[in-house]
């Protein structure tokens, strides 16, 4: 482990940008391309948005925790909420699966496309933790 950070904030939509910038500034320590950076930011946006709208049902009183860890040329990002959790994680992660008919159900699909690994731990009634890892192209 080379470096890490932990960021906590209330589940307000305006904090998605804070999370995205913090992760991006941290990831910049690995010297990514702008495309790699956009992918990481996209994945973070999806995971944090899910924590706010699904985990906490859009209530601003929840706490979202975002952690970043650098290992060599890889970055791991964890997004955690103590919200309602999921009964069936594997099913929720399938494309076009959504509990909200107004949504597209593509958040997890984007996370999996943008990052190399996406793991989700979730306990109904207790919360969700999304762990994403991305290996950056080595240019050194």
């Amino acid at each position: 482990m080379l470096n890490r950070f932990r960021l906590e904030f209330p589940s307000r939509p305006e904090n998605v940008g804070l999370a995205r910038v913090a992760v991006a500034a941290f990831a910049a320590q690995l010297d990514p391309t702008l495309e790699e950076l956009d992918e990481i930011k996209g994945a973070v946006s999806e995971a944090v948005t899910n924590a706010i709208i699904h985990g906490y049902g859009n209530s601003p009183d929840g706490i979202v925790i975002v952690e970043g860890i650098l290992y060599g040329d890889a970055i791991e990002v964890c997004v955690e909420d103590a919200g309602k959790g999921m009964e069936d994680v594997a099913r929720a992660m399938e494309p076009e699966q959504t509990s909200d008919p107004e949504r597209l159900g593509l958040g997890f699909t984007f996370m999996k496309t943008f990052m190399d690994e996406v793991k989700v731990d979730s306990v109904p009634g207790q919360g969700t933790r999304v762990i994403m890892r991305k290996q950056l192209a080595t240019r050194h």
Partner: protein
């Protein structure tokens, strides 16, 4: 005075203010220029070095010209 100015510059306390949008658009221009010059995607460091800015400032500026919330799904309908 010279010493204080150097201190300020080295410590990044004060810099000539450029708007975030301005920095972001310059960063995108530099990205394109470096990509065609080197025939590969430049890294954030390379772009920041060209702009003489710390890399996290480039990151901040680029985010400022991005959509405010989720890229792909609006948070509210």
């Amino acid at each position: 005075i010279g010493e204080i100015r150097r201190y300020l510059r080295d410590n990044n306390a004060i810099r000539v203010s450029r708007s975030l949008r301005d920095v972001a658009y310059k960063a995108l221009q530099v990205r394109d220029a470096l990509a065609s010059k080197n025939a590969r995607e430049p890294s954030v460091n390379e772009i920041a070095a060209e702009l003489k800015l710390p890399e996290e400032e480039v990151v901040l500026a680029l985010d400022a010209i991005q959509e405010p919330v989720s890229l792909f799904e609006p948070i509210y309908h």
